[in-house]
Amino acid sequence: MSSTTAAAAHDDHHHGPEKGLLRWVKTTNHKDIGTLYLWFSFAMLLVGGAFAMGIRSELLQPGLQLFEPQFYNQLTTMHGLIMVFGAIMPAFVGLANWLIPMMVGAPDMALPRMNNWSFWILPFAGTILLSTFFMEGGAPAFGWTFYAPLSTTFAPDSTDFFIFAVHLLGFSSIMGAINIIATVLNMKAPEMRLMDMPLFVWTWLITSFLLIGAMPVLAGAVTMMLTDRNFGTAFFDATGGGDPVMFQHIFWFFGHPEVYIMILPAFGIISHIIPTFARKPLFGYSSMVYATASIAFLSYIVWAHHMFLTGMPVAGELYFMYATMLIAVPTGVKVFNWVATMWKGSMTFETPMLWALSFVFLFTIGGFSGLMLGIAPADIQYHDTYFVVAHFHYVLVTGALWGIIAAVFYWLPKWTGKMYNEGLAKVHFWLAMISVNVTFFPQHFIGLAGMPRRIPDYALQFADFNFISSIGSFAFGLSFILFTYIIVDCIRNGKPAVARPWESAKGLEWTLAAPVAYHTFDEPPTRAEILAESQHS
């Protein structure tokens, strides 16, 4: 009895959110910071999307219509950088901030002040990156992979600002990852065992280790670029004894784990949504955890499959081909488990489920083209064509982004305490689903027919499919206006949501009232509560 009284008395001292704008600057609350991350990444998604619209407008027809080639290259470069570092990664960190403490029964993130800092670095890094457009010589124009020496000896002066921005983005990511590891391992409810944790927590824990391993390597690569450009070193310059191919090894040693950083949390999200709407526990919980860990491990030892044409020795090519093909196994296991979860379920198709099913379907198509790309001899014909562009947009747009959108619809009632407009949300889903395929599916064909990527103008035999792809992309772009409306409408006018808006949803977050209180889990959940909300019971 006395403990209840103490808790009640304690509650009186609790602060709600501070009033005014300073709340957002000074906040150390995981929910506030999650919100900041999500809005920031959404703004960046729109910026990166605007660049994509520019790219597709130029490619609508053969001939140069809108941009100089140099500016076109700036657009493709910034589209990639903004989408990867500004939109997808921060969106997942935002979801982690909102959800992980609630899912593990923790009151907040383990390192709240660092949490604030790791977010507030982002707007500055993003601004520095975007400001390069207004500098003499223009923004970086060497592709998001910034291969030396195009990015060193032959790059505009603004490249040094790009380097600084990448360093800042890297700090932010590393701090975010440390925070998540500390939260999961130290703050989870004492009664929660590792194998009780929901899959979103598991996938993010593993992703955090990928971030900690990969981001410093990226920092190393850009630092070497910086000294090559300004201090007379020659890491990547053959005339000084360096090697431009070494840049690619270092970049892809970061870059390959990076692509799994962008997809593993989405795997986690999908593993929450499908069981809920199939009304059946997740099939193969432990094999999902092991598969995620295997993918993470393999992601560190396959980097040179991006480099089959650099002149690697044949033994190296064989090894990287085999290792790459091996990744299909744990990834396949995940897809099979999702399908087995649906099997003999009792399915309904609310918006989050539509996005999740679409994810399984389209991500698998991206996985198929990935398997084809992994076959080194065939990669000779695929490499750096639109086939690759189609592949990585299938895994990153209809994979990573689809996972984020599915998560937004799934947890929006919990975050806002309100329901979104289900009818409009379904219209939005079908608009996006159809237009994204009209955009990216024909790119397989133009790639196989021989159109290289990153070119502002193309030969006439590629014209028809480029036209279709551009029209699709405009419709896809428009779908985000509808998305914005649905979210804003939900926040402003949504009908009140119940604590557990999806009848079979499992997870500690659903035990909390809606709208969720500013501070939650002052008292950790009990063993019984944890087991009742477990994904595999």
């Binding site: 897809v335 099979f336 009792s346 070119i455 193309y458 006439l460």
Partner: protein, 373 residues
Amino acid sequence: MKLLLTITGAITALIGSKSALAEYTLNMTKGITDISQDIYWLHMMAFWVCVGIGFVVFGAMFYSIIAHRKSKGAKAAHFHESTTVEFIWTGIPILILIAMAIPASKTLVDIEVLDKADMTVKVTGIQWKWQYDYPEEGISFVSNLAQSSRDVIKASPEEREAVHNESDYLRSVDNHLVLPVDTTVRFLITSNDVIHNWWVPAFGVKQDANPGFINDAWAKPNEIGTYRGQCAELCGKDHGFMPIVVDVVSKADYAAWVESKQAEKVAEAASATQAWTEEELVAKGETVYNANCSGCHQKDGSGIPGVFPAMIGSEVTNGPAEYQIGLVLNGMGGMPAFRMLSDTDIASVITYERRSFGNNGSVVQPSDVTSAR
């Protein structure tokens, strides 16, 4: 507004003049070498394997979506674990992958291991053109995007037909690479500046051209014909405008071509010793400039501020000729060396730059370049 015009223009063009667009292809080329055909086979094999797996996985998924829905009264089962099933769907993919890896490894080794070549061609990527050297035959030339394509790149929406009427738009060059049929050719591939990639789909050859390093690749074309490709590694501003055109000809035609190229070289050398008039130099220089220099310094000599210096009123084009000759021969910073051009070409392009764009520099003779080398 301009965008809107473009879109409307494009829709009209597509509906109105469908025939103007070249034929499209859906699939990878089979090519004309044994290797390219092996690659095509691997590609189709992998494709059908994916189709098969997709059929099973998506079949199960869509069956479930249709049959196991709540609205049809489906009651959820409760199974959620089976070690046996997990083993099966780990094991079967591994077996499929091994079956795919065996032919892939064989082709890869065929591609990478070449015992003996009949001839060698050195391919050098240069922003944004290709240089071809036949070391044994003593032939060397530079291959640029054809002027006819260059002229219509920026056609306005109203003149769009010009692009559609240009045959092999962006895929034609001034000097074709010429190779004999049924001959094993070794390509030594390198770069003068950034990384390029030499790609001829019909040969199944795509290889990075790395500055300071030499990569090799090989092809044995089986069929006479003209084959087109493009640079396949982002190499800066005009990456999209450095195509590759290869003529595979009969052995007799090849021998005749080699002879004519060698005779051309002798004539070139002779012309370099003559004195040229300013008009002759400027006229020749304009062609050389448009092919080699206008990509960066722009056709009107205005350059791009902060990246590529302007020719107009520049200290270089109006200053001492020796400095400019040295600059063109040896390059500087981001500008590559143009040693591969003949003395006559260099003298004429420098004269063009010094006497056009309102500049007032001196005339440079081929002999000046010869002595500067």
